[in-house]
Symmetry: D2
Subunit: 340 residues, 4 copies
């Protein structure tokens, strides 16, 4: 039997590669050979801190949840014809039965099993098994990296849905990291005007490369002194102060979506402004029903990832991949490719 | 010509009654003899502090904006047949032309002229002139006090609209003052379950008198230790700490409407909770298109005001009326009746 | 082993009662002893015609889908503690996995298994097995009939959701049969004004008994000559001509919900009126996520069924039950009670 | 004083050009020199039939309502600085005071005054006066034709708003006339996939020129036999049979927007399909709050009009312009340019 290398976080900052028996797909599950995995900020955070909020790594954990692969095996009750299909892997598998699932908000399912969220292992490995309903076939022309990055794109799609972005809206995206650049591209695909803000020149350049020309260099002037106003704020930095300041430039009846997670659970917000302008503020927690749309947007050429995708690393170099985006802000999205 | 007594705030805590010439209605305006005026917390605040946020009383100001009356005169371009009609007075007259007005959000009109908001005089007087489109005819069976209290009821209607309250929702109303009790009654009229919370026994009693039996005494246990959960928070205390704690008991996909204005413009909010539960938070600023509904709800007996209405005061006793609710929490809504 | 009597439609107008082995609950399923079953117009239609649209009875079929019962057995993977619980039985069990299920519209699931819809047997029997996620616990004070009638009440809840009924809306309900009376009660529970229309005096009387006083006798004057206008039409007769005429009395921006199914698949509609008034028209197909709300509305006394519930019949008399509503319009909802 | 040529419909098929005194702008009005006017199907219909539905030409009427111009004079209470500005003319001026206006649906205002709708004269003239709130400044780079065609583009924007089109939706646009091509471009700008259908080869070619490659030749196969399915139907032919057939290819939870007006006020619709799929059907009547968005979409290059714009005609040749689109389907949008 072929063996399966898996990269495990065994201690803060400490990864090991172990070879294990091939996993066996259960009912409704498939065996997937991993093609490409994006490194997410949450992976880096687990690597550096061993926890994110209430999620604590208590036993060795495989990281990585932005993944694509090829179906190479099929469990009981599945469709054997899917073997050979290339897929984007939606990392969260909800219960399908609770109130949240039944009302279409399966991202809020309290029983969801989500890759690389303790105690569920992720995709920095040669193979994983996964529920077939959350493996999305991709077209031939779609790259492995695009398929993997359907995950952060899904966050962008979901954030835009929650703000109901449409033509005539002016969107302010704070933070030009991978999420911000995905959010901005989806806003543009929905017909809205987009202004991007960041303090890092290389990230503003990435935005420019993606064709955005309304850019705000937050290092030179705070947003509230920039003259910028917006109908929608897409806060993608996770910096409490940025959220606070940016809400203040929203127009009456504006909307604020807090996408980035801050290390501070509680934050000061300009509540009086929210009230007198009747601003609607919300957050996003993952996404629901986005993968088919993400695949379609890639297929139709509406989303570009070239300026985001950084260096590629094999399974033996995951630690380097995890350090890459921290050490070099120009490396927006390092990718792990097990076959390297 | 008859004279018009008007009660003017000339300094912090200082009111004078002046007799002036009768006002003359302009184009689209009517002359209205005031029947009843509710005392609002904002009136009390101007009386005690001379300002509310950015609104500063810089010259003598007539307070009072929860008013009813009888049309006794008609300006150019109006309908003379309306003379003699009893009316609920919607205090805010928007421009009707700006983006907010054209999109149905006239409460956010930047040019709105709102009674008792500097520099626009209010209704603590024998007569006022007012735009006829914002004078709403009331049925014979409706009392002057009900007509006046269409104003706080409008806040309740608007808050419920913004949270889209419907059967199956569990509503937590924090604060059993006049606004909280209106909000709660509208939630009930929309078919939702309502839990009310306050620290003042007389206010909880008022809620009980209105038929609410799910009450939380916030003086004995903080809301987050009460076991209460809710789908919708209607925050009507304006106390930052109450807002913070109450958001934490909301269910996933919950909604929070911050109705009460706090003296603190900025407040700490549990942002991580808002994010992981995808709570939608907003505020209310007055209301739009609510008066016809308010009148209908009163007419159909769905809203009660007896437990709210406190003592009645003539124009010479407005200062006492303004002090009443502060000094006696059981006096939820003092009324000013010019004819007394 | 106890035996299970089941009433089978073996031919048009021909029922037989057969005793069979007790059914055995599978994974996630429970054995339910049936307490009460409402007779629905669709049961009558299958009985008289052997089909409804594309649904054809091709082998013996047990009818009845408005049912309540008591859990008396539990299959693998279920909660044994539920045995003994009284339940309202939600008759449709969707797949939980398709696009419609994942987006919260599980009533549109193409793989739904729905009681008494060929080839799925219904509840005119002593016992059935059913998926535990679609058995809803009811409180002690709730009657078996109320629990059974959560089904037509669910249609009422769903129709009201689709029209987003709220205070200030004027609702016209055409048809005072069981569905119309449920729809009307839900509209009232949501705070709307309701006008009911029918041609049968006993049905208008049932509406009056339920406390509705705005009634239109369609036998004496067509709706469009009645002076009635409405914001929302709830069409519950299934008569094409009624739908056509009633849409014409809708106000601009009105909504029309076609609840009743007509024998005519295609119907003439006043399209020009729909266009110039921008009326939104839709239909309802069953319901989703309504049972918990139905139970709560019953528990809070907001829905009455006494004027609807007609005679009760044992399993040997199901044919009489099916004929009852046809022969006596005053018998709005005959009930089948297996224990009789 | 300069004179103002106006082209009047004096009888069916009979136009005369009259020179009159310059009109004088009233309160809030401006004098506008007309730059360009698109010929609309409704203009052609009035020209050929003297009426559209209940709107009857009873005295000489100036046609033309898709217009742009330059402000050359200003009435009382206006901003003199606007003189010299180039503007897109929004043809409907609502009352701003009725329920529809106050709720943001001013297109449904019963008192709206709309250019070229009896008895209000239109824009086939050298000058008109118009309410300044409905004259929208355009940027320098925008052409007179683009500004004029903000009108049909507004229909496209409004239709897309009413169907809430977003990425992931598949839109079927039936009819590739000027409205269909505008609707389709807006759907694309909102990120949706678009399929266009027509029977006229030149119109399908126009769609192809605009970059659409999913085209259905309705002359060769009826839509319901084409294998096409859609989430949203945008019916732009006004042919009852096309509406009927196209609704049948909608997916569950689909939406149908009837944009095209049919000469038949009543139409047969597949009501059973609408019910079991819970399709939401509505119509559009003009538009509200669309002009700023239309201007922005043009400015950002998201809407093309070159394949639509046909020959140009002076005021003396309006009859030829009116006949052009009827006689040559390849001439999708003839334009009237008074200065020619």
């Amino acid at each position: 039997m072929a063996s399966n290398r898996r990269v495990k976080l065994v201690n803060i900052g400490k990864l090991i590669v172990e070879s294990e028996d091939m996993p066996v797909p259960g009912v409704n599950e498939y065996l997937v050979k991993i093609s490409s995995v994006g490194v997410c900020g949450s992976d880096v955070h687990y690597f550096e801190h061993g926890r994110i909020g209430n999620f604590v790594v208590e036993s060795p954990l495989v990281l990585g949840h932005e993944a694509s692969g090829v179906i190479v095996g099929a469990g009981p009750g599945t469709d054997q014809d899917r073997v050979g299909h290339r897929v984007a892997i939606e990392p969260g598998v909800p219960c399908g039965r609770c109130k949240q699932c039944r009302t279409g908000r399966y991202n809020l399912c309290p029983s969801v099993r989500f890759l690389a969220t303790p105690p569920i292992d992720g995709a920095f490995s040669d193979y994983i098994v996964h529920n077939g309903d959350f493996l999305h076939d991709i077209p031939d022309g779609m790259s492995d990296d695009q398929a993997a990055l359907c995950e952060p794109l899904s966050v962008g799609i979901w954030a835009n849905r929650r703000a109901d972005v449409s033509p005539g809206d002016r969107i302010l995206v704070t933070g030009c990291g991978p999420i911000g650049l995905m959010v901005a591209q989806v806003s543009r695909a929905r017909g809205a005007r987009v202004i991007l803000s960041d303090i890092i020149p290389s990230r503003l350049n990435a935005a420019r490369t993606l064709g955005f020309d309304e850019l705000h260099d937050a290092a030179s002037a705070p947003i509230e002194e920039s003259g910028i106003t917006a109908d929608v704020l897409m806060e993608c930095t996770g910096v409490a102060d940025v959220a606070f300041r940016s809400i203040s430039v929203l127009a009456p009846a504006g909307r604020a979506v807090l996408v980035g997670m801050s290390p501070e659970k509680d934050q000061a917000l300009p509540v009086a402004t929210i009230q007198v302008r009747e601003i609607v503020l919300t957050g996003v927690f993952r996404y629901a029903n986005t993968y088919p749309v993400a695949i379609e947007l890639f297929e139709r050429g509406m989303i570009q990832i070239d300026p985001l995708v950084g260096a590629k690393y094999g399974l033996d170099d995951v630690a380097a991949a995890l350090r890459a985006s921290r050490e070099d802000p120009a490396c927006i999205k390092p990718m792990v490719v097990p076959s390297l």
